[in-house]
């Protein structure tokens, strides 16, 4: 929106966020805002809108995550750190100095093992042909465990109701992640390279 002689909405937003984060504000903007009634009213409208959004969101989150929950979460985090710190159990590898005879002739798989594997493969193919992916996804009712596995890869997620309000979010996020990675791959000033090196990338966090 362009308002001749007055601050534009983006400049008013600049003022709002500078005020929130303590960033220095362009003195010209500050001067105008302090003297112009019209811009002041506009600024108040924006401030009220954004403050309401924030307050509402904070209240919602704080009602979900109570002080008790924060305490419990901290305990869980520290418990998990204990697990991380605990030295891993060492599983001994086969000795490297084993003789060739020991390595190759120690255990020959019995013939029945090959026969069982072949039978398993045959049954798998046959059952797969009968219950194709279409059937597994759309089968009404029933509680076969294999159907549960296919339909619900994750044990107990509840569908997040608000995310499915618009479909393009996944691709948006994909695009964002892609850009993020591209931005990180670009040549950067030395100090940023150091920062980047110590930061796990999106791809590392999978």
């Amino acid at each position: 929106m362009f308002r001749s002689g007055h601050l534009k909405d983006d400049q008013l937003l600049e003022c709002y966020y500078a005020g929130r984060t303590g960033e220095a504000l362009d003195p010209r903007l500050a001067d105008h805002l302090s003297t112009c009634m019209e811009c002041n009213e506009q600024f108040d409208t924006i401030t009220t809108f954004l403050d309401d959004i924030r307050t509402d969101a904070e209240e919602e989150a704080d009602a979900l995550f109570t002080a008790e929950h924060l305490r419990t979460q901290r305990e869980h985090i520290l418990d998990r750190l204990d697990q991380v710190q605990r030295p891993a159990r060492v599983i001994s590898f086969p000795r490297r100095d084993a003789t060739p005879a020991q390595r190759s002739g120690g255990r020959v798989p019995p013939r029945w093992l090959a026969a069982a594997a072949a039978a398993g493969l045959f049954i798998g193919v046959a059952v797969g042909g009968y219950f194709g992916p279409e059937r597994l996804l759309r089968a009404p009712g029933g509680s076969s465990p294999s159907r549960q596995m296919v339909v619900q890869p994750r044990p107990s997620p509840k569908p997040a109701v608000l995310v499915n309000s618009t479909q393009p979010t996944a691709s948006d996020d994909d695009a964002f992640l892609m850009d993020l990675e591209l931005a990180l791959a670009r040549p950067q000033p030395r100090e940023l390279q150091a920062f980047d090196a110590m930061t796990p990338h999106v791809r590392d966090l999978r």
Partner: protein, 232 residues
């Protein structure tokens, strides 16, 4: 362990008052003179881990968690709109921070580093969820409304059912509006608005140029005002 008050972050040195504020201010990479309390604590924990004093490091880490926990949960919840998943995402981020503390460098505020790890985790979760939803065909009995879909973790709600309903409607509308933003606008808005990060912080967190961050932020707010009727 008692609740520790959130720290005021060490802001990068502010621009000089003479600097033009055209939305494309030069990006200074000079870190602040004195590290903030959380950054100092992170450095201390790193030293403790280096010297093998793991119990003490773990204890001190609890304090660091307390400093950032609430803010982290607000961001993760706004991102994921699912209390249980937000809780997991925050836990994972803190565990990752501790296990990677050796690679933390104080050239940047701890908060920037931590938040970057957190949002990466949240983005991964959203991606995983989208992948899951692609295969998941909800049956009618699973098609629950917001009441059951949004898990609470021992939360409280307004006692008055009508007020509760209104509040939920308002929040659902806002969440749907935020969801309609494109990925970058959403992330920038979340971090600036719910994470109290400056555009410069967000630039460091996401790798997006600072002036581009401002553009995304302003577009996001403009769109939200349009969606929610807050426009003049």
């Amino acid at each position: 362990m008692s609740d520790v008050q959130p720290v005021r972050r060490n802001k990068p040195a502010p621009d000089s008052p003479e600097a033009p504020s055209t939305g494309a201010r030069a990006r200074t990479s000079v870190p602040p003179a004195a590290p903030s309390a959380d950054t100092q604590l992170a450095i201390e924990i790193r030293s403790l881990v280096d010297s093998g004093a793991m119990d003490e490091a773990r204890e001190r880490f609890g304090e660091l968690v307390a400093m950032h926990q609430r803010r982290a949960l607000r961001i993760a919840y706004q991102y994921l709109r699912d209390a249980a998943e937000a809780d997991e995402a925050v836990q994972d981020a803190f565990v990752k921070v501790f296990t990677h503390i050796g690679s933390y460098r104080e050239a940047w505020p701890f908060e920037v580093w931590f938040t970057r790890i957190l949002i990466n985790g949240c983005l991964d979760r959203r991606k995983a969820r989208a992948r899951r939803d692609r295969w998941f065909v909800p049956s009618s009995d699973q098609d629950s409304g917001p009441e059951t879909a949004r898990e609470t973790v021992g939360g409280s709600a307004p006692a008055d059912p009508e007020a509760r309903l209104l509040a939920r409607e308002r929040r659902d509308t806002l969440a749907a509006a935020i969801d309609r933003l494109d990925g970058r606008q959403r992330t920038v808005f979340m971090l600036c608005h719910y994470g109290d990060a400056s555009p410069r912080d967000v630039s460091a967190m996401t790798g997006i140029n600072e002036s581009t961050v401002r553009v995304h932020l302003f577009r996001a707010v403009r769109k939200l005002r349009g969606f929610l009727g807050g426009t003049s």
